[in-house]
């Protein structure tokens, strides 16, 4: 042990009982020659001993029975709350799904039709407007033109299930996460 810095390092290992016989001898010797280190070690030892032997409050006489009663009541309450929440989320899922379906025919379908038709129009003027994107657009244009009048229909029927599937999956995922969160939240009376 070269000095006080090594002693500080060794002190933690000493407290954990991880020192060899030789290290223990060096440690004990350093304590006799260095007053500061001896004080530091004594402070820590006193603190840890007191912490371990500190008196702990005795639980109140009815502690166990009261705890058991509250725990069982909390479980009943939790189960009831979970049931209510599950019904609420199920109802919410139905409402949101209905709204999505309704919005599909009112908003998304006309919007997709409009987008598909305008895309074709824009692509027909692509030579003038999008010179820099010509190569990419011309590829896309070829595909869409080859589809002809079927393009809007294909977009509608291809995109509809995907979009609807994503939204429904998202709602189910959010509902599932919410149910799980509620499940693990403790209720204290």
């Amino acid at each position: 042990m070269s000095g006080c810095i090594d002693f500080q390092r060794l002190m933690h290992r000493y407290l954990d009982g991880e020192v060899s016989q030789g290290e223990k001898a060096l440690f004990d010797r350093h304590l006799t020659i260095c007053r500061d280190c001896a004080r530091e070690f004594k402070a820590l030892q006193l603190g840890l001993n007191m912490l371990a032997s500190m008196p702990v409050p005795e639980p109140a006489p009815g502690f166990t029975s009261e705890t058991v009663k509250k725990a069982f009541m909390a479980k009943r309450l939790l189960a009831r709350r979970q049931k209510v929440m599950a019904w609420f989320l199920a109802g919410l899922t139905v409402i949101i799904s209905t709204l999505i379906l309704a919005s599909w025919t009112i908003i998304f379908q006309p919007a997709l039709k409009w987008a598909a038709l305008n895309l074709l129009r824009a692509l027909s003027a692509s030579d003038v407007i999008f010179n820099t994107l010509n190569r990419f657009l011309s590829g896309l244009k070829t595909i869409l033109i080859s589809l002809g009048d079927k393009a809007p229909q294909l977009l509608l029927h291809g995109a509809a299930p995907v979009l609807y599937g994503y939204l429904t999956a998202l709602i189910i995922m959010v509902s599932f996460i919410l149910i799980r969160r509620i499940r693990y939240r403790a209720i204290f009376i």
Binding site: H12, A38, A43, L51, M54, P55, V56, E58, K70, A74
Partner: protein
């Protein structure tokens, strides 16, 4: 953590199964087995209000019994719940600790009838206890918790790292920092004591 496995695993398994099935006596037995350990930990972590905290911890234990792996001992699981719950309490209150009421409702330390305590020694012990309480309050809860587990409950570093779900190096560093703060806070006491 041999000191905290008061029940053989098979008995414990039976108790947990019965408690899960709604047997109040079985859960009461679990509470009785671990209440001192939990109250002791909470008392050192949050100070006053340890009993309420312990009660809430047991309620949390009961609510999560169906998730508990019965092949493992209860104590580490209970320590994990206690650690998280005490941190929540301290965070909720926005303070590091709650001052401990001295002597109120504490168990009496058994003493020999023919041996009267030395008044000076008693005063000195009370002073040291106050100093340690203040020093503990100065230790951040994240260091305080593993320090208590290591030095009060004598849990190994490996077990603490499993309880806190932290690498052993981090656990050791936190305990060393906690010790350092405790040591620094108690230096004044040791110097005043004339050492």
């Amino acid at each position: 953590m041999a000191t905290h496995s008061p029940e053989p695993v098979s008995d414990q398994l039976d108790l947990i199964k019965r408690a899960c099935a709604g047997d109040k006596d079985a859960f009461g037995k679990i509470v009785n087995l671990y209440r001192r350990m939990v109250i002791g930990y909470c008392h050192r972590m949050v100070g006053s209000g340890a009993e309420d905290a312990a009660q809430e911890i047991f309620i949390k234990l009961y609510l999560s019994l169906d998730r508990f792996d019965v092949s493992k001992p209860v104590a580490p699981f209970l320590f994990r719940i206690s650690h998280n719950h005490c941190l929540d309490i301290l965070k909720r209150k926005g303070i590091r600790t709650i001052p401990i009421e001295t002597d109120a409702g504490y168990e009496k330390v058994p003493q020999l009838r023919d041996k009267m305590p030395d008044p000076e020694e008693t005063v000195q012990k009370a002073e040291l206890r106050d100093e340690v309480n203040h020093a503990m309050a100065a230790i951040p809860p994240l260091y305080r918790s593993p320090l208590i587990m290591r030095h009060v409950d004598e849990i190994s570093y490996e077990e603490i790292s499993r309880i806190l779900k932290l690498p052993i190096g981090t656990v050791k560093a936190r305990i060393h920092r906690g010790r350092k703060i405790l040591q620094q806070k108690l230096m004044r006491f040791v110097i005043a004591d004339g050492e």
